[in-house]
């Protein structure tokens, strides 16, 4: 019951891992993605992507700038132009 999460920038692939939940700052509001989410695509605002490794755990924050998120049956892919770890 893990969600495959990928974070890619033009310079490199930053993350590719199995996580519990990802909360993305979509341009029309934040949204959380769990495993089995319906196919979805959204542009994202500058802000922090919250990565929950496990249910109820503390989120890890990754600041991203400019890009969009794509949710498919394979998991979530965030394409960002800049990432501040």
């Amino acid at each position: 019951m893990a969600l495959h999460f990928e974070l890619v920038t033009p310079a490199k692939q930053v993350r590719s891992e199995e996580v519990h939940m990802v909360v993305v700052p979509g341009s029309e509001g934040e949204f959380g993605v769990l495993e089995g989410h319906a196919p979805f695509m959204s542009t994202i605002d500058d802000g922090a992507v919250q990565v929950f490794k496990s249910a109820g755990g503390e989120p890890e924050l990754i600041n991203v700038k400019g890009g969009f998120a794509e949710v498919s049956e394979n998991g979530i892919t965030v394409l960002a132009e800049h990432v501040e770890a």
Partner: protein, 289 residues
């Protein structure tokens, strides 16, 4: 016949040239590895982006498609974006790119179209200026930064898209070297603007929700796609430059070695000839007594 001293100086100068070319070769080899790694690291993003583009472009119908995808309705005015290196000492790389650019320009002119140039990098400027002096409309200098990155690609594509929106050209082609190996770097010509319609991928009919709308996303996506193309070209250029430089400097080092051998033989022969002459003089002198 050059004198012994002249020969010696000549050998010395070729030797120091060889040292320089050898150093440049080693530097290029080290840089090549890095450039190749960053070119490879950039690939996932480009692959993802074109996959998303493909699934979106099929859904947005012809009339409502953004200008960057649909084009301006004409193909009269062409802009060639030529990506050259900033530094020399890389063999025939730049002249090959310039040759490809000229061929493309002549092909377009033969079809009665207008051609203009936008130059990235220093080295293509002079040869293209000689032939197409009036056609060069702009350029971008990448020599100020050590390794051109996404910011430079951002600036270049922003300027190009602005020019396109101002109606300065209808079609833009990107000409850059693609790195295949240290020996082979082929000039490539790609259409940049309008973005060529990607092959529509069939994603199994899954209903994808879009936020905001499909068109808004596509509109946000297209400039990013152009940017990624330019970024890819810059990365390829970097790898190609180092690869070509490595090969060219390897050849130069070898040629210098050959030249040194030849000169050394010539030097030794002249030296022996001089000794023999001296001996004959001494013997002749002794016999005369």
């Amino acid at each position: 016949m050059p004198s012994l001293k002249e020969l010696k100086d000549r050998i010395g100068s070729v030797k120091s040239t060889q040292k320089i070319t050898k150093a440049k070769q080693m530097v290029a080899a080290a840089k090549l590895r890095r450039a190749q790694a960053s070119a490879e690291a950039g690939r996932p993003y480009a692959v993802r982006l074109s996959a998303v583009m493909a699934s979106l472009a099929g859904k947005v119908s012809g009339d409502s498609a953004p200008k960057l995808l649909a084009g301006s309705g004409s193909d009269q005015r062409n802009l060639l974006v030529v990506v050259n290196t900033d530094k020399g000492l890389c063999g025939g790389l730049n002249s090959n790119i310039v040759k490809a650019a000229k061929a493309k320009a002549q092909e377009l002119q033969a079809q009665g179209k207008q051609v203009e140039f936008y130059l990235v990098g220093k080295k293509g400027r002079a040869p293209l200026k000689r032939e197409f002096e009036k056609a060069i409309t702009g350029g971008f200098d990448t020599s100020a930064v050590k390794t051109p990155g996404f910011e430079e690609a951002d600036a270049i594509s922003a300027e190009l898209i602005q020019m396109f929106e101002d109606g300065k050209f209808d079609v833009a082609h990107l000409i850059y070297p693609t790195f295949q190996s240290a020996l082979v770097q082929n000039p490539t010509v790609n259409q940049l603007i309008p973005v060529p319609s990607p092959e529509v991928s069939d994603d199994g009919g899954a209903v994808v929700e879009y936020e905001p709308g499909e068109e808004e996303i596509l509109e946000a996506l297209l400039p990013r796609y152009v940017k990624t193309q330019v970024f890819g070209a810059l990365l390829e250029r970097e790898a190609s430059e180092q690869g070509a430089s490595m090969t060219a400097m390897d050849n130069a080092t070898r040629n210098a070695g050959d030249l040194i051998n030849k000169l050394t033989i010539q030097y030794n022969r002249s030296r022996q000839a001089a000794i023999t002459t001296e001996l004959i003089e001494i013997i002749a002198g002794a016999e005369a007594l």
